[in-house]
Structure formats: structure tokens, C-alpha cells
Amino acid sequence: MLNIALTKGRTEQDVLPLLKQAGVDTVPIENKGRKLIFTDRDRYRTILAKGPDVLTYLNRGSVDIGIVGSDILTEQENDQPDMLDLQVSKCHFVLASTSAFNPDTPRRLIIASKYPHITQTYFDTIGTDVEIIKIEGSVELAPLIGMADAIVDIVETGTTLRENHLQVYNRLQDCSAHLVVNRLALKQKRAEVYQLITNLQKCIQAK
């Protein structure tokens, strides 16, 4: 039995068709109601969880496989084998702000983000020291109300940014849904993990 933690929400919607093609019975998950645990005979047990929690379950060994956005893998400094880019739920990070923003302002900039680690890494790369404020949601607010000079946030189409009159100053890293495996489960359940990953690889290549 392979235990899988799947990030609920958009990742779940994007990944379910792939899992279905790879041979997982996804019907119970598609008709989930309020359930959070789904069993496909004695082959798979899938749980639905929030992205950061997927890694917590994986690191504790409570699940063998996690399906989660690469943004979370990077932000949480995941060190479990990140085996497969599922190439769905694609989006990217941007540095964005109002039209009045000047990245070359001669002072220490204040950047708001839900992703302080990714933000820090980006500004370290370009050699700029900034102050980072962690915001849990609606990050777009921070430059609009004057709390931050700019934001680092994840975008898919950019609609939310445009609706809030924010513009993109730089495009940072891409992200997508990834399949991560608990290091020891990979050894203990090699055949099952191999089968699932090989099936998924075929589905991705066929797309």
C-alpha cells in the first residue's frame, strides 16, 4: 500500500487526471464530499492536505509520497527526493509593485511576501539587502497601503496583479506540481514507487 499526500485545491484538480491515467482510481477523490482519506483497494491510500502539511506528513514517514508545488518545496527547503516534475499547476514568481516603485531607490527596500526564503534567495542572488515582511495572504495589499515597497509573489496569469494595478518588475523562478518521495519509503516500497513514477512519466511524455 502506497500512502500519498496530495495538496488539495488547484494541485489536486490538475494532478487527478494524471493519477487517473497512471492507474489510480480517482473516482472517490472526485466525489469526496467532506472526506479526507481515500483508499484504492490495497494499492493506494490518498490523503488530501494543505501544501506545507504534505511535507510534514512526508518527513514524519506518515505518507510515502507527497504531491506538492515546487514553491513549497523550495520555501520549506525540502531534502526528501524530489523525483518528478509533474508539469501541471504551472506558475511563476514575480517581483511586483505599483507604477511608482523604483527598484534603484537608494535605501533598504521593504519587500512583503508569503515566501520569505525564496525572496531572500532572490535578493541574495542579485546582491541586494532588503527587509522582508512575511504576509500570510493577499500580499498585493502591502505596496498598495504603503507597508512595503514591493512584493514577491506567485502568479499564474497575473490577473490579480492587474486588477490591483500592480506591475511586474522581474520574473523569478518557475514552479509546478512535483512528486516527492520519503527517502526510506523509496527503499521499503521500491517496486510500488517505481511503478507509479514510471506510469506518471509515460503520461507526462504523452502530453
Binding site: 510534514t56 518527513n59 514524519r60 514517514g61 520549506q76 527547503e77 531534502d79 527526493p81 524530489d82 523525483m83 518528478l84 516534475d85 518521495v181 526510506l184 523509496l186 527503499k187 521499503q188 521500491r190 517496486a191 517505481y194 513514477i197 512519466q201
Partner: protein, 381 residues
């Protein structure tokens, strides 16, 4: 509230699980002692420099402020032994055993425990294969003795990955990038990195290299796709020797190979091994690390060792049905007889109640069996 709370990452150990842990440590220490290993105890506090170059994964170290140099709670027990060897003038060969706690800081609020108990041995000054075999034999025998009926011993070699990489027609940094993707098991990146080698004689082998772990025969069959590569034949012959040894002397262990991982620590130079049961953490890990003393002295010294993760053992050892506790009630004149009675029974303890009625009440509360020595005129304990 803080005096009633535990710091994150810590726990109290008590009750039957603690009793089992203590028993397991005792069994391990007794075996090491019977086999002629000299016990060594190093301090919990060390200078941070002792652990320089150690790969701690994503686990942090507990640092303590000190006046001059940085102190840490030891994250490992092998490096301190290397320090002992390098500074005390002990003449090798020497066989040492240890048990104690190491401290590795997990990410906060993730449920990991930062204080882990290890017990292990170091065989220093023996370059031959018998040193590796004694480690594996002792570790395997102890697992069997502790009633872990089924477990897997995975063998690897610190030189295999680099031997194959060195033979590939790749320049730097492409070679390093390929190694990184292989070790991280990042299949998507790995497939990109091997594209330039699609027409090389290594192409077939490379296709499945990240999956080159599992049952011995399966992995060896897969390695046959590898073109003749300097250093590889000797590594494979050595791994087969170790596998044959295990089959003969630790027959209840399933032997697997892993030829696509990096060595657990940079100081490993040859054989590496890990053991695990069907579930739970690694039971023991070890190998040959002739570079162990490299950060302390110029002269290299052969070293082999392994350590049990005692907490993982406790979780894997089957729980025995414990007989109910016996409370032994006695009079002031029966102290010695009562002590002798208790000493002969693992589940007995002296009841210090001042009256038989109070003793009976205590036994009822604890669902224990009351042994009343006071009613016996002469006790034959």
C-alpha cells in the same frame, strides 16, 4: 508556564517503553563488552570544529554561547572518537564501543525529536575486510537477538558513483550537475542531464541509474549494462563478498544494494551499510571510513564502525507480554529476604506501605499482585 513545559524537540522517556529501551541498551553493551570492545564516553559538549565537514542533512546543530570558541551539543558520536584517537596517543589497532545521546535540531513544530540515542562500535587500525565483517556480524546478531525477525541490510560503496562519473565523456560542470541530479533522485533534471550521452556506450546504463537499488541479483543484473569502467569490478567483487558473508552468517537478513547514492558522510572511503525493517527508521548504519581522522591529523588511519539508532530499535522490537507487577509487602525484620525475593523477579518491587491494608489498597490501584511476606514466619525467597 515554562517550568511545566518541555522545550520543542524534546520528550520525557518513561514507562514500559523506557524500560525496553534500557534493556536494549544493556543487551547491546553486554554484547560489545563480551566481544572485547572497550567502552568510551565522550562529553555531550564539544567544540563545533570537531564536526567540521560533517554532512548533517537538513538538521541543525544546538550551539551554545561560549567565551572564546563555539560549543555545540554533539550531533554525532563518531567524530568525537576520531578526536580521542588523534589526541590521546592510543595505539591502534583498537576496538571501542559507545552509547549515548546525540542532538540534531529538526525544523520547529514538525514532530521530530532532537535528542536521539545511539549505540555503536568503532574498529580502528584494521584495513582488512574482517573488520567490516565483525561490524556486520555483531549488528545482524544483535537485531536477531532483539527478536527483529525480518530486516534488510542495504550495502553500498562510497566509490561507485564517482568511478562511473569519472568514466563518462562529460566535462565540468556537466558532470557535477549530473551527479547532483542523480544523488537527489531528481528524475526530471536527471533525464535532461544525460541527454548529451544518448549515443555513448553508457546510455543504456544511465537510463535507469537512479533506480539502481534493491534486491542484490536485480541490481547486479542491471550493472551488467555498464561498460567496463576502471574501479567498478573491484567494488562489485567486494560488495558480493560482503553479501555472501551476510547470507552465510546473518541468514535472516535480506541483502540489497544501492549503487546510486552518495556516501553518508564525506569521510567514508569504501563499504557503507544501512539496515531497516518493513516500517520505521533505519535500525543501524555504518561502513568504512579511512578518512575519519583526516580533519584531526595528517596520517590516515583505517576505521570501520556502525551505530544503532536505539529509538528506532525500540520501535521495531516486538513488545513482550509483561506479567503483572508484583508488590512485595514485608516487615522491618524482613528487609534482606524481601530484597532477595525482588532481585529474582523482574516485575517485582518492594512495597513501602506501612500496613498490609495500605499495601493491598496500593496493589488494587496499580492492578498489581500483592505478595505478603509478613504473613510468612520464615521466608524462603
Amino acid at each position: 508556564m515554562s517550568k511545566r513545559n518541555l522545550p520543542l524537540g524534546t520528550r520525557d522517556e518513561l514507562g514500559p517503553a523506557m524500560a525496553r529501551k534500557q534493556q536494549i541498551i544493556q543487551t547491546i553493551q553486554t554484547t560489545f563488552s563480551q566481544q572485547g570492545f572497550a567502552p568510551v564516553k565522550t562529553p555531550v559538549l564539544e567544540y563545533a570544529d570537531v564536526f567540521t565537514g560533517m554532512n548533517g542533512g537538513n538538521l541543525g546543530t544546538y550551539s551554545l554561547p561560549a567565551e572564546e570558541e563555539q560549543l555545540v551539543l554533539r550531533p554525532d558520536l563518531t567524530m568525537p572518537i576520531a578526536r580521542v584517537m588523534s589526541t590521546t596517543g592510543i595505539v591502534p589497532p583498537v576496538k571501542l564501543s559507545y552509547s549515548g545521546d546525540v542532538f540534531r535540531r529538526h525544523k520547529r513544530h514538525t514532530g521530530g525529536y532532537d535528542q536521539i540515542t545511539q549505540a555503536g562500535i568503532e574498529i580502528i587500525g584494521y584495513p582488512g575486510s574482517k573488520a567490516e565483517e565483525e561490524c556486520l556480524l555483531l549488528a545482524g546478531q544483535l537485531c536477531t537477538q532483539l527478536q527483529i525477525k525480518q530486516f534488510t541490510i542495504e550495502l553500498g560503496n562510497a566509490g561507485f558513483v564517482d568511478a562511473v562519473l569519472a568514466a563518462l565523456p562529460l566535462a565540468e560542470p556537466a558532470r557535477a550537475e549530473l551527479k547532483q541530479a542523480l544523488i537527489a533522485k531528481n528524475l526530471s533534471t536527471y533525464q535532461d542531464r544525460i541527454k548529451p550521452l544518448v549515443n555513448s556506450p553508457y546510455a543504456d546504463f544511465l537510463q535507469n541509474w537512479p533506480w539502481l537499488f534493491g534486491p542484490l541479483d536485480t541490481v547486479l543484473a542491471q550493472v551488467e549494462k555498464l561498460p567496463e569502467t576502471p574501479g567498478v569490478a573491484a567494488i562489485l567483487a567486494d560488495l558480493q563478498r560482503v553479501a555472501a558473508f551476510l547470507k552465510r552468517y546473518v541468514p535472516n537478513a535480506e541483502v540489497t544494494l544501492d549503487l546510486c547514492s552518495s556516501a553518508p558522510q564525506p569521510y567514508y572511503t569504501g563499504l557503507s551499510f544501512h539496515a531497516y525493517a518493513a516500517a520505521g527508521d533505519y535500525l543501524f548504519s555504518g561502513g568504512r571510513y579511512d578518512r575519519l581522522l583526516a580533519s584531526f591529523q595528517q596520517t590516515p588511519l583505517a576505521a570501520v564502525g556502525f551505530a544503532f539508532d536505539v529509538d528506532a530499535l525500540v520501535a521495531s522490537v516486538p513488545v513482550q507480554d509483561a506479567s503483572p507487577q508484583q508488590l512485595v509487602y514485608f516487615t522491618e525484620d524482613q528487609w534482606l529476604a524481601a530484597q532477595q525475593y525482588v532481585a529474582k523477579r523482574p516485575n517485582a518491587t518492594l512495597c513501602l506501605a506501612t500496613s498490609l491494608a495500605a499495601a493491598q489498597q496500593q496493589a488494587d490501584q496499580q492492578q498489581a499482585q500483592l505478595i505478603d511476606l509478613s504473613s510468612q514466619e520464615e521466608t524462603n525467597a
